[in-house]
Assembly symmetry: C2
Homo-oligomer: 396 residues x 2
């Protein structure tokens, strides 16, 4: 008999996908240049040329049996060592290869990291607004996901609510900075305070609390933004990285878990990741992509367009009258919607103006909407009069 | 606190890995040419040149943003359609793209297929000898794996034992033909009889029973072997394929689930696979590899060396006196060990002769040992005197 849990879900497409699908339908009807599709977080700049060149070089010069052979369970040794070196050099850490586990993107990284440190009865906390896929990632482990409400004035951590939510069942905290959907980067002050509270609670509860840090946007940070390397501030920290956004390789499914060497049982946790893969049918990310990312660990795609787009949008939308907490990174911003029901607001913008954004309800933060500005600057500029029209529908 | 289940497992490396590790150690001490490493199933022939050429073409000519972009949840449409077409053409089926779900190898395929059709209290049956990773694949879904003992005279299905094991909790049967470790291919007669029993039991129990067919060795079949396309014989069948063995791409993690169009809720099962991915953090296989395998659906690597190696080994080992059921495919054979304790037997061969095989106990079939002959023919030929020496240690 069919598993009803998964069957029921097939009927319920995510709201983000619904807006995305609507944008695609409209593009067929009116032409894609007339649809302002800000619904989805696909990088819009190419991967560094050095990646492409190195892929071709591997294909043209390496023995194909070795090149396409099985990766070791924990990842290719040279890739793991190169990642450790790069993190150490850039962030003053002291990882070695044995602290790194190669994964299929950040999704795979989180799925492994959480399974290492929770069992069925445990609780994981995360902070609104948050990436909606955290719900299946966490519930898939058997643990319970508890949401700490947002601080909508800053989108830093709402510490009052956080302290209320903490309890002895909490085994892990899952954070995402730079944040999807707000674009906010947690400040050094925020991370220090978070670490302080967690250290105190570890003592109080008599058990470890792991900080799982989801960092696909780590390299997309705008000028002048304070952007601490989170694992440097807390011993029991596990960094989950993805090559999807910063080097524009979302489809190649490449990421890693980096366990803080100061973390209790750090190397054991990496070995456990290798065992967890066997239960999820996950296994390693592709061998050739593991080898090829070694060449681009210290570089990124040309990310300047995201900052340029943010600057235009932030300036123009605040001029019009929208309330926005200015993003410090990513390619998202998260303005307040002009009516409490962001879902209604986003459908009105979509249906009347072909302006496709996504309601904050999907991120557990109603009253806001997400704009993904990983699009051309031309589209950004042409969209401003539409955002103005939308504003006038509600405020004039 | 750390998850004790996965922690405990880190201490217990698989026996296959232990022999493989021993072979590598010995290779460092005495030179790899002096170690006869038959422990592991890594393809030893290159991927077709057309695959490499097409990968280079994709990298040199395609827009990198599109090429490396997110795959749709169920896989790239053109790849799914091409797989359906290829299966239809070769096996007289009538798949469409909507019956195909792209996975990260056969491991991913089985993990998804099983989750579609079982829940926690259900039972899955498989037949000894079987690939040891079936244990975590199945227990990871929450279901129970029950083993039907082997028919060691033929390594076809032991139907007496099968009928004893069947009960109303059984929701799925997991089979693997051509088989790892025996190399045996289930005959048309075997598959017909299996289908007959399952059809009768579906009626008797009043629920569907799914046949999940793990087929990474489907294309590696030797001359004269009867090799039916299993899904053609049973409606509720789900084929799990991998590109690891037949086109020598094990590290690139590419496979698929093909749900028989005649299967109840066929298209729904594929949609469910897309939901399951969200819980395991699995997601799609790499985009560029999905696109590139489209070019090699109707071809294979040059697999003739496996048959040549099988012929030499089978002829020489039976001449010496070993009892072997002659393989019809794969690159494995599974002779009887010369003493009941195959573990002791394999360690003796390893330590005294640098002849590295794997005990059948790992495959739930004691008294046998597996030889993986995906090695050079030269190594096969040089190993014969050692197998002869080994025989004399026990029989003369």
């Amino acid at each position: 008999m069919i598993n009803e849990l998964y069957k029921d879900m097939t009927g319920k497409g995510s709201v983000i996908r619904q807006f995305f699908a609507y944008a695609n339908e409209r593009a067929k009807e009116v032409g894609s240049e007339n649809v302002f599709n800000f619904s989805i977080g696909n990088p819009s700049v190419p991967t560094p040329q050095i990646f492409t060149d190195y892929m071709v070089e591997l294909l043209n010069t390496k023995d194909p049996v070795a090149l396409h052979g099985y990766s070791p369970t924990l990842g290719i040794d040279s890739t793991r060592a190169a990642i450790a070196d790069s993190l150490n050099k850039r962030f003053g850490m002291n990882y070695t290869a044995e602290h790194i586990f190669m994964t299929t993107g950040a999704a795979g990284a989180i799925a492994h990291a959480v399974r290492c440190v929770v069992t069925d009865s445990d609780e994981v906390l995360t902070f609104a607004p948050y990436f909606p896929e955290y719900v299946p990632y966490i519930t898939g482990t058997g643990a319970k996901l508890t949401i700490v409400p947002a601080d909508i004035d800053t989108f830093q951590i709402n510490f009052n609510e956080f302290e209320k939510a903490l309890n002895p069942n909490v085994q892990a905290i899952l954070i995402n900075s730079p944040n999807n959907p707000s674009g906010i980067v947690y400040s050094t002050e925020t991370i220090k305070k978070l670490a302080e509270i967690l250290n105190a609670k570890q003592k109080e509860y008599g058990h470890d609390i792991y900080l799982i840090s989801d960092e696909p946007y780590r390299e997309i940070v705008f000028e002048g933004t304070d952007s601490p390397f989170i694992s440097a501030f807390y011993d029991n920290s596990i960094c989950c990285y993805s090559f999807s956004k910063s080097v524009s390789l979302p489809g190649e499914r490449m990421g890693y878990v980096a366990v803080n060497p100061a973390c209790k049982d750090a190397a054991l946790i990496v070995l456990m990741c290798g065992q967890i893969s066997r239960f999820t049918g996950h296994n390693c990310p592709p061998s050739i992509i593991q080898l090829a990312v070694e060449k681009i660990l210290d570089t990124t795609s040309d990310l300047s367009i995201y900052e340029k787009n943010k600057n235009i949008l932030y300036k123009e939308l605040t001029r019009i009258g929208y309330h926005i907490v200015e993003p410090g990174g990513t390619f998202y911003m998260f303005p307040r919607s002009l009516t409490d029901d962001a879902n209604e607001f986003c459908w009105k913008a979509a249906k009347e103006l072909d302006l496709i954004t996504v309601p904050g309800d999907s991120f557990n933060c109603p009253g806001h909407f997400r704009i993904s500005y990983c699009v051309t600057t031309d589209m950004i500029e042409r969209s401003i009069p539409l955002f103005e029209k939308l504003y006038k529908m509600y405020r004039d």
